[in-house]
Amino acid sequence: MSLDVPLQIHRQKEGVAPHRDLFRVSVADSATVLDAIEAAWAWHDGTIQFRHACHHASCGSCAVRVNGIERLPCVTAITDVWDGASDVVVEPLRNFPVAADLVVDVSTLFDRLEASEMSPLRPVEHALPVEIGERPRTDDGTMVAPAGIERFMRFESCIECGICISACPTAALGGKFYGPAGLAAVQRARAEATAATEVDAILGSVDGEHGVWRCHSAWECTERCPQGLDPAGAIMSLRRELTARRLRRLFRR
């Protein structure tokens, strides 16, 4: 069965005032929001700019706001966001400069991710469902690899989509806040670090006013993360460690 969905898309280009265009797109009832955007592009207006690559929530490039809420349109069913009557509104992420239409400039995000030195890979842990993973685990929950395999590795859970930054009210104020994605990446790098000097450097990099201490604890990043991650929790865990270290130093003097 096919649906005729009224889709409003944010338009923004050089020399044109930002506005929305309404397209009535015909898509299958099993279609995703990304399918609908692609249909608008393929059948109505080839100048619509949007980012997309994997279509299965792994590349993180397609993140937008649908009806005001940050989502990955590639894994959001159109029927989940359309009530059958009102327009579905698609806008670019907040808190990034808009390059054109739905495309935002993600360079600050990637600057911070790169600076975090978070490895794109991590050892596999709880990934296999319990009913499958009857494999012995170490104390920290890491799966013991079967003989002959040193360690199963997998890509990080964070897909670097920028949704947490768009959802963050502190980032929305336009300041110098390091942002949930960057801080969560630093926390991942810290979790994998072992050498004391490295840990020092990692923690020191976010101990400033615009680092972990700027977060106003709105928890929106965690609320919106499409991968079910907890950037806010990561920020708090960095704060706890920084606090403990500072107290230790204070009393050692």
Binding site: F23, P169, T170, A172, A218, W219
Partner: protein
């Protein structure tokens, strides 16, 4: 199926916007908490300086202070006090939540903590209002 000609799209009216960071509509409890804290915090700073300013009447001697006290003991002024106390309660209880947040209770607990904080604030506000108006 595919038509190559570009239909002139319909143009809905442009959306109205508040400063996006301070607009908690469609956002979660956390954004409401943040915005409420902001507004009450700034409000309390203003109140602090008004309060300090008013205290300068003390410097002008007993008469000017006591006549001022007579004015602010009136019901409308006491109602204003309730507003200040409400702001103070919201700010203080949310401040407790934010401080406790460092122990990372998780997103769901955060929301619950916000609700609890607001309920406690409401209860305390009622008690204090009763005290204030009964005392007058």
């Amino acid at each position: 199926m595919k038509t190559m000609e570009t239909r002139t799209p319909e143009r809905p009216p442009p959306p109205r916007r508040l400063a996006s960071g301070l607009d908690p509509r469609r956002r979660g409890a956390g954004s409401w908490a943040f915005v409420l804290s902001r507004i009450t915090g700034l409000g309390l700073v203003v109140y602090l300086y008004v309060h300090l300013g008013v205290l300068s009447l003390l410097a002008r001697g007993p008469e000017s202070w006591d006549s001022f006290i007579d004015v602010v003991r009136s019901k409308p002024f006491l109602a204003l006090d309730v507003v200040v106390i409400a702001g103070w309660l919201v700010h203080a209880l949310n401040g407790i939540r934010v401080t406790l947040a460092n122990f990372s209770f998780g997103a769901r607990v955060q929301k619950a903590m916000f609700s609890v904080a607001m309920v406690v604030a409401a209860v305390l506000l009622v008690i204090m209002s009763v005290l204030i108006f009964e005392g007058s």
